[in-house]
């Protein structure tokens, strides 16, 4: 059996070259998020607030750099017939999706690292209470948003239309992230609903991992919700993802 990360990275490296050559995508992915560091800087001295600000930035990265960016990339590669051609080769469908998504994920992770380093320097960030939980939130969130991007691309005919078709997910997830309105300040049912959207549980896991708090089992519910989103996203991709343009 052939396989392994090598052949996935062959595709990922080509995508990275394409990202570096696409000025608009590069700007959105790399430059645009940097001013957000100021937001984190304004969080004050309370570790819980700092963790909330930083995990909120992570959520924005997942939405902008990973989700939005990948919807446009999946649509572009589909319309260029690149996905159809890749499917004639040895890569599995999952490898094609992962390889295509790899550079966006890489850029997202690098930005998270930059934000952590920057915040630590600016405001003496607390050490994460539960690092595995934090990483689980990041990995789970990234997985879900790659899958949602692939699913959204199925409903997006052109790269330009991505601005429109990504709005529902973007709007709901910005609300769900708790960055603008912390869910616990909302009336019970609304807060609960937001906690069920994909961004809510990812940020909650990251926040719990960073700042702690809640009981020992507080992470179970968001972890379960996030896993459910990953399954739903996977099923949506299987059902709706398009490998070639509509004729």
């Amino acid at each position: 059996m052939s396989g392994g990360p090598g052949r996935l990275w062959a595709l990922g490296r080509a995508e990275l070259v394409l990202l570096l050559r696409n000025r608009a995508a590069l700007f959105i992915a790399v430059v645009l998020p940097l001013p957000l560091l100021a937001v984190a800087g304004a969080a004050g001295a309370d570790p819980a607030d700092q963790a909330r600000a930083l995990t909120g930035l992570f959520a924005l990265i997942m939405l902008g750099v990973v989700y939005y960016n990948l919807v446009t990339i999946f649509v572009a590669r589909r319309e260029e017939l690149v996905l159809k051609r890749l499917r004639t080769g040895e890569l599995t469908d999952a490898e094609i999706l992962a390889g295509t998504a790899a550079p966006a994920l890489l850029v997202g992770l690098i930005q998270m690292a930059v934000f952590v380093a920057g915040s630590a320097a600016l405001m003496g960030l607390p050490v994460p209470v539960n690092l595995p939980l934090l990483l689980l939130g990041i990995a789970g969130g990234l997985t879900v948003f790659v899958l949602l991007a692939a699913a959204s691309s199925a409903f997006t005919r052109t790269v330009e239309l991505a601005q429109l078709t990504t709005l529902p997910v973007l709007a709901l997830c910005v609300l769900g992230s708790g960055m603008i309105v912390p869910p616990d300040t909302l009336p019970g049912p609304v807060g609960d609903a937001l906690r069920c959207l994909p961004m809510g549980p990812a940020t909650e896991l990251m926040r719990l991992g960073w700042a702690g708090g809640g009981s020992g089992t507080a992470a179970l519910v968001p972890a379960g919700v996030l896993a459910a989103w990953a399954v739903a996203g996977g099923l949506a991709v299987r059902r709706w993802f398009r490998w070639e343009p509509r004729r």
């Binding site: 990275w9 062959a10 490296r13 080509a14 017939l81 051609r85």
Partner: protein, 296 residues
Amino acid sequence: MTAVIEVEELSRRYGEFVAVRDVSFTVERGELFALLGTNGAGKTSALELVEGLQRPSGGRVRVLGHDPYAGRKQVRPMLGMMLQTGGFPPDLTVVETVRMWAGTLSRPRPVAEALTLAGLDHRGSVRVRQLSGGERRRLDLAVAVAGRPQVLVLDEPTTGLDPQSRHDTWRLLRGLLHEGVTVLLSTHYLEEAGELADRLAIMHRGVIVATGSVAEVVAAYPARITFTLPAGVDGADLPVAATVTDGRAVVRTDALQPSLAALLDWAGRRGIELGGLDARAASLEEAFLEIAGERA
């Protein structure tokens, strides 16, 4: 001889429309089999079933003994393909494209070797978007052969190529056939099929209407003699049966030489000049036009 590609009563439907209907053929190891047909005849649909890109609505395909759709994992490392249109990111260079592809293969050729085979070695640093149509086709070919495939399935591999590049492609394919590679290709260049194909099938409206070697397919069709009937001569006076339309006589015959001799002898004795005289043995083109025409 062993059948590398076996296709039995294959069908593919899109809703009401039947793109491929009960198509059967086999391709032996080291053989080149050509699918001919008018546009929309179902060639691409049939090839996509052999490639395992689509699941047949009926019938059975085997490539090297495997179902190419269900056994994608087993078949793909042995299979190289060219789709009808490329599918490479416009902003990668030629070398970057082939390197990317080679990186996904289990037994890749060196990038330079693949480019040389396809005659693209001098264009390595050019972006795909700047390539001519013919060069894109050759990039596609470089990718198709990059994994040292045992089987090649090529959908119109030389469309858009200049005559020189077309001959280069033929030379490459002959070399691969010599090494035992099996090739299934579609083309609408009859000359290409005549030049390369050990056997061929002509498709029309989703069905194979003629199949065999070039000689076998052609044998079913008559030779033709055409000329302009001089003024004052009636078609009924001719020594061979002819149909006359707008003053142009067409003789269809299974015995070209005797028919032509009789006609020339007749004209010679009467001092008649047969304007625009043309006599040709049945060719693939005749057979093809006959099929496309009579069934249109």
